[in-house]
């Protein structure tokens, strides 16, 4: 007791010392954490949050070119958008585009990922060829496809060789959106496939071997082993692909200008046209806020669906 009580003194005196060194270590760790996080947080604020805040704020004003001044209009820009046929057409086109392009790109990317992870001759070469278009910037691949889609271009020459009459592609209301989906998928499929290949390669080979020994078919092994185990990369691909497809701009700007008859007027292009061609930055900013909101809702639903099925 006494010794322990004797020891208490130094222990008591030591303890604060230990506490001090612990707090200073914790503080040092905190400082390090803050230092490491700071660049990302600062960039997040500068390039994401401030512009978003600016869009939100600016969307509540109206600039009159005739009067030369800006005035507060509250939610009027939103009211104008919600009563505009052009805006609803653009929302409809964007949703239709998303409903087609996302499942299409992901299904093809997944099928190719499964195919190219099989041990077969030349799969590395084929894989590289599929990934290659990713290297072409969006505007460049758009221009290449613009040439392919010309009335006298490669696509019609190819169809001609098969005895199919020439198609109008980007100048037809019925084919323009699909033409853009095809050109985007040319690069997109290879890109998303890379993430899925990485996921499939992480699936332990023993599981497949064991299932094979038990007589499971390749199809059954895919659904029972591969698919559940790549859910995480698949979820990432689904969300990231959805967001990137909501922000498609270059092919519309270069090839169709939103036409013919508004059939490719995706929201991102409509925002650009409202801001810089129709000169209405305020309403365009309100539209940006709506686009962000739609994207957030859809991504939230995707996360929820993926979580509940886990």
């Amino acid at each position: 007791m006494s010794s322990s009580s004797n020891n208490l003194g130094p222990a008591l005196t030591r303890r604060p010392q230990a506490g001090r060194s612990q707090t200073s270590a914790a503080r040092a760790r905190r400082i390090a954490a803050v230092a490491f996080l700071a660049p990302a947080v600062v960039m997040l604020i500068i390039v994401r949050l401030l512009p978003a805040g600016d869009a939100l704020f600016s969307g509540l004003f109206h600039y009159s070119l005739v009067a030369g001044q800006e005035s507060w209009v509250g939610l009027q820009n939103y009211v104008d958008l919600f009563t505009s046929g052009r805006f609803w057409n653009s929302v409809g086109i964007t949703l239709l585009f998303s409903i087609i392009i996302n499942p299409l790109q992901i299904a093809i990317a997944l099928a190719l990922a499964v195919l190219f992870t099989q041990r077969m001759h030349g799969s590395v070469l084929w894989r590289s060829l599929v990934i290659l278009p990713v290297a072409a910037p969006g505007a460049v691949s758009t221009i290449i496809w613009g040439v392919i889609y010309r009335p006298d271009g490669l696509a019609n020459a190819f169809l001609g060789a098969l005895g199919i009459p020439p198609q109008p592609y980007v100048i037809s209301t019925g084919q323009a959106l699909m033409s853009i989906i095809i050109l985007l998928s040319w690069g997109g499929v290879g890109y998303w496939m890379m993430f899925l290949i990485a996921g499939i390669n992480d699936v332990p080979r023993e599981l497949h071997e064991a299932a094979s020994l038990d007589g499971a078919s390749a199809w059954r092994r895919f659904w029972r082993i591969t698919f559940p185990l790549i859910r995480r990369p698949l979820a990432f691909v689904l969300v990231a692909d959805t967001i990137s497809n909501f922000l498609v701009f270059a092919p519309v700007q270069v090839l169709t200008q939103g036409g013919p008859q508004g059939s490719t007027n995706l929201l991102m292009f409509d925002i650009y046209e409202r801001a810089y061609k129709l000169g209405d930055l305020n309403t365009a900013n309100a539209e940006v806020v709506i686009l962000i909101a739609i994207t957030l809702v859809i991504v939230a639903v995707q996360f929820r669906l993926l979580r509940s099925s886990e």
């Binding site: 009159s64 070119l65 005739v66 010309r150 009335p151 013919p260 046209e273 061609k277 129709l278 209405d280």
Partner: protein, 406 residues
Amino acid sequence: MAEDGPVTITLSGTDGPESYAPVIEAFESENPNITVEYNQIPQGEYAATMLQRLKAKDTSIDVLTVDQPDVAQFAASGVLSDMSEYADQATDAFPADQYEVNFYGDKMWALPVWTSTAILFYNKDAFTKAGVPFPSSDPEEALTWEELRDTAEQVKTGAGIESGFTFENPASYGSVITMAASAGGGTGITGDDGLTADVDNDGWVKAMTWYAKLFEDGIAPRGTGQIGTDAYFAAGNSAFIASGPWSVGGYLPGGWAESSIDWGVAPFPYFEGGDRATWTGAWSWSYNPASEHKDAAKKFIEYASLNAEGNYKTVETTTIIPSNLEAAAKYFPDIQDQAGDHGAGLADILTYQNDNTALARPVTVGYVQFLTVMNSAVSDIVNGADPEARLGQAQTELEEALKGLQ
């Protein structure tokens, strides 16, 4: 502003650099301390790009060309310099329409350099092969659009060529405005403030329905955008092309669309029973209020616009009509000479149309918006959209866009 030492100023426009080379060279030799560099920006993006850069006070822009209908919006946006000091000199130097088009809110914001008119070019080889007589070059005997359609069809079939008629820019508002006006539809903009859209009236519907049918019936070609209609006509694929004086130089040997066929000129058509209307007006020049070399910029604009000799230099390569009256008086006979046999009657056509049938594009602060909506509507109609429904849609879009400016 080191105006005493050597300065370099920029000129921004949409034409190829060769168009401005003669005026730049002549100006530089008179002003050895000033060097002019030309920046070309694609026409489709020009107005929006310039507005954006000028609003951001981009000092790399000194002198800029402005499409005349855009003067109002550029001035209202505060991106042009007040050039009212030249107003007195300008009243005598230019025709009235070319003088007035540069005013917005009682101030003069630019000086005119080029104006234009519409010319109907025809393929003499194809007419001869089809056994169809040439159209008259008498400025008072213009074809009606109805006659043009019949003739175009006869020549197309008789000579076995691809098309009967095309505009230089088939899918643009600037081309069809004269048709709509001739059908009684006006320019598409009304009201004192120029902010009321009127593009779904009977005249517009009549003109656009007639125009759409040309494409539907295969008399006018779709999808020549990739090669350019000038080259298309110059290679002998169409009986007619409606273009401007600039194409005269284009089709001549060494021009940008050097013609492999024999061609002639005729006055621009109109609808039977309607008024004749030909487009007019082209580009004015102004300078950036944020320019660091304002004196040099002003000197260059004075030379290219008010100085008859300098103004003439601007049309040496591109055969377009100089705005300066003294330069134009020299230009009309010159361009006819330049065109040789092809140009028989050209000087009379240019003079007559400029004096009698010129229809200015609407003056409105909303011209950039108006053009964006209308170009897309005309493009859709050319590609098969129902004209009446599409004009109705354009009307709604315009009401929305023009309201946004108020």
